[in-house]
């Protein structure tokens, strides 16, 4: 995991001011964000991590992600299962228990490492949004 440059913020003025060089340098500075080995997260991975702020089983994740994204992101069962296995192996999530209704359903929750990765991804996305908006609002 890399440490993030928290003090670096992008000012839209700098970008829309037309100073291309300044703009380029800023992107490189921010480049430290998004350098961890999970970055960039796939949309599925990102939403799974976000949903697992509370303990959920597989189908619970599907429902929650669908709800959060107003039915835009519908996780397919195989995609979810693969992502869960992958995230658990990399310790971004952890199995915290089993569903009391059905012992075949494992409950998962995000780990501290998972939260770090998620924060890093949010910073990366914010940078992208700011740069994009900055250019288009010019």
């Amino acid at each position: 995991m890399t440490n993030h440059i928290k003090s670096t913020t992008i000012k839209i003025d700098d970008i829309s001011g037309g100073d291309i060089q300044k703009y380029d340098i800023q992107v490189i500075d921010i480049g430290v964000t998004g350098m961890n080995k999970f970055s960039p997260l796939t949309e599925s991975m990102y939403y799974i991590l976000v949903s697992l702020i509370e303990p959920l089983h597989g189908y619970g994740i599907i429902k929650k992600v669908e709800e959060m994204s107003s039915s835009r992101v519908k996780l397919a069962a195989g995609t979810l299962y693969g992502a869960l296995t992958n995230l658990e192996r990399n310790k971004l999530i952890i199995a915290t228990g089993i569903d009391p209704d059905n012992k075949r359903r494992k409950l998962y929750q995000i780990t501290d490492l998972g939260i770090d990765v998620l924060n890093d991804e949010i910073r990366r996305l914010e940078e992208m949004i700011l740069n994009g908006r900055g250019v288009l609002n010019d």
């Binding site: 796939t42 949309e43 599925s44 991975m45 089983h57 597989g58 189908y59 599907i62 519908k74 996780l75 397919a76 069962a77 195989g78 995609t79 979810l80 299962y81 693969g82 992502a83 296995t85 992958n86 059905n102 075949r104 359903r105 494992k106």
Partner: protein, 176 residues
């Protein structure tokens, strides 16, 4: 129960899917799969979506895996080797087991690893043992073996290239 012999291959998933969906339209529901054989039970004609998945794992996580698919609305119809054939009734929406390139790539990666491992003894026999015996001039037993090993080897190699092409396709889509 109706038995249908059909040569199916891992790289023909779409063709098999279409065939099974057509069978359910005609009122035959898949109940089991054997080696190059499908078993059907008569049922009411229905629109069914079939999807094949490939897995290899320990028993414990298989339970969890199947439960997740069941929760998501899939029914396990048949299982052969590492292949699982799931289906669900069509309701106008599109359903798939995988809906991003990362997970599709991972599926074909599992298949590739499986093929490489199973291929080892085949290529060992075909490329090292049999040619050497051939030089010494032992016929009979080894001669018969050749006719079994070589077609399998060619088929295996063909499968390997086909699956690799699929893996590569999703892998390059990911990089876009």
């Amino acid at each position: 129960m109706i038995k249908k012999t059909k040569f199916y291959f891992a790289w023909h998933e779409k063709k098999e899917k279409d065939f099974l969906e057509e069978m359910s339209r005609q009122g035959y529901r898949l109940v089991d799969i054997g080696i190059f054989k499908y078993y059907f039970e008569p049922c009411e004609p229905e629109e069914r979506i079939y999807e094949a998945d490939f897995r290899s794992f320990d028993k414990l996580s298989e339970e969890e895996y199947l439960q997740l698919y069941i929760d998501a609305g899939w029914t396990l119809d048949a299982k052969i080797g590492g292949w699982y054939m799931f289906s669900r009734l069509a309701d106008g929406e599109t359903y798939a087991l995988y809906n991003d390139y990362a997970s599709l790539k991972a599926k074909y990666q599992r298949l590739l690893i499986f093929l490489c491992i199973t291929g080892l003894p085949l290529y060992y026999m075909g490329l090292l043992i049999i040619p050497n015996y051939g030089l010494v001039g032992i016929s009979g037993y080894v001669g018969i073996l050749k006719f079994i090993i070589y077609p399998f080897m060619i088929l295996h190699f063909f499968a390997l290239t086909k699956i690799f092409t699929l893996y590569n396709k999703f892998s390059s889509k990911l990089k876009e």
